[in-house]
């Protein structure tokens, strides 16, 4: 699960830097869904996720011509940029929330607890969004984005032990808040 080996995106990036439209399309097919998923799960907002993904790739296009092989993998770089943009937005939300107390949204189980499909998905998304941002980031990077512990810890600028602590606390909190859905996670 370590971040080792050559960069699988290197050849495509070279093509993007030359202005090869096929390389642009392939790189977007390969990486845009990951960036969108990351931003959506970090921000719990489809519009903001799209904005973050767009800004991330606009920055990638600027880097493409001068990309130096042998440094950080492009996927890692994308994650770093996207996470920074997500945190910018989370900070703005916090500032707004401090100025204007939000309405209280009940994310607990509905009275008729039999949830299916989209409802279930929304419950999980709400539970994830209710976690402290660093715990959510750890879970999204390791579980959803499939990054190894070393790579995720490096992205978050923490030790592997600290990452494990964030993952453990986050998963325990999710397990508690989704306890009523345990039977539906079969």
């Amino acid at each position: 699960m370590a971040a080792e080996g050559s960069d699988p995106d290197e050849a495509l990036l070279t093509g993007v830097g030359r202005g090869d439209p096929a390389a642009v399309r392939q790189l977007l097919d390969r990486r845009l869904p990951r960036v969108l998923a990351l931003a959506r799960r970090m921000l719990n907002d489809a519009g903001e996720a799209e904005d973050v993904a767009q800004e991330t790739f606009l920055r990638a296009w600027k880097q493409a011509r001068s990309w130096r092989p042998g440094g950080a993998k492009f996927d890692t770089w994308l994650h770093r940029v996207a996470l920074n943009l997500c945190y910018d937005r989370l900070r703005k939300r916090r500032d707004v929330a401090m100025a204007e107390p939000p309405e209280q949204v009940d994310t607990g189980p509905a009275p008729d607890a039999g949830l299916l499909g989209a409802d279930l998905s929304r419950r999980v998304e709400a539970a994830l969004a209710a976690l402290p941002a660093r715990q959510r980031e750890a879970i999204v990077l390791c579980h959803h984005q499939g990054l190894g512990n070393i790579e995720a810890a490096a992205l978050m600028s923490v030790s592997v032990e600290a990452l494990e602590s964030l993952l453990g606390r986050g998963r325990r909190a999710l397990k508690a808040s989704l306890a009523d859905l345990a039977g539906q996670g079969r």
């Binding site: 370590a2 642009v24 998905s121 998304e125 993952l167």
Partner: protein, 142 residues
């Protein structure tokens, strides 16, 4: 490497119910322990896997065609024939300028210059004084 049952349970709580997604360094040991203690540890993994499956339900998001279109339009464009020609011409002009500059420097080095630095300074000082005195003699019209 050895692993306690408690550490196995802790890793399941941290990394989930699929040992294949645990850190590579502990996978082999964990699998060996699972073979030795299947009854106890399969329950631990099943419990962690239930949360994994719930987490999988957190919605991702697919890229819509408008976003794709904007990103494709903003991507670096291939250099056109005209731009390639201009780039080549620019390089040629640059080389020409550099060559001319080299010739000019060579000519200047070859010219006899003032041998006495003080005489050169006095010329500059005289010119400056002359300009200043002219300016003082002819006040600007209001």
């Amino acid at each position: 490497m050895t692993m306690s049952l408690d550490r196995f349970a802790e890793l399941a709580e941290i990394y989930g119910g699929d040992v294949a997604r645990w850190p590579e360094a502990v996978r082999e040991t964990a699998r060996a322990l699972l073979v030795a203690e299947p009854a106890r540890l399969e329950v631990v993994l099943a419990d962690a896997a239930r949360l994994d499956r719930l987490l999988d339900l957190a919605p991702a998001q697919s890229a819509d065609s408008a976003l794709l279109g904007r990103l494709i339009a903003a991507a670096p464009q291939p250099a056109s024939a005209a731009r390639r020609w201009l780039a080549g011409a620019g390089a040629a002009v640059g080389l020409g300028v550099a060559a001319l500059a080299g010739v000019a420097v060579g000519v200047m080095i070859g010219q006899p210059g003032p041998t006495d630095p003080q005489s050169a300074q006095s010329v500059i000082a005289t010119d400056f004084t002359a300009d200043l005195s002219e300016a003082l003699e002819e006040p600007a019209a209001l």
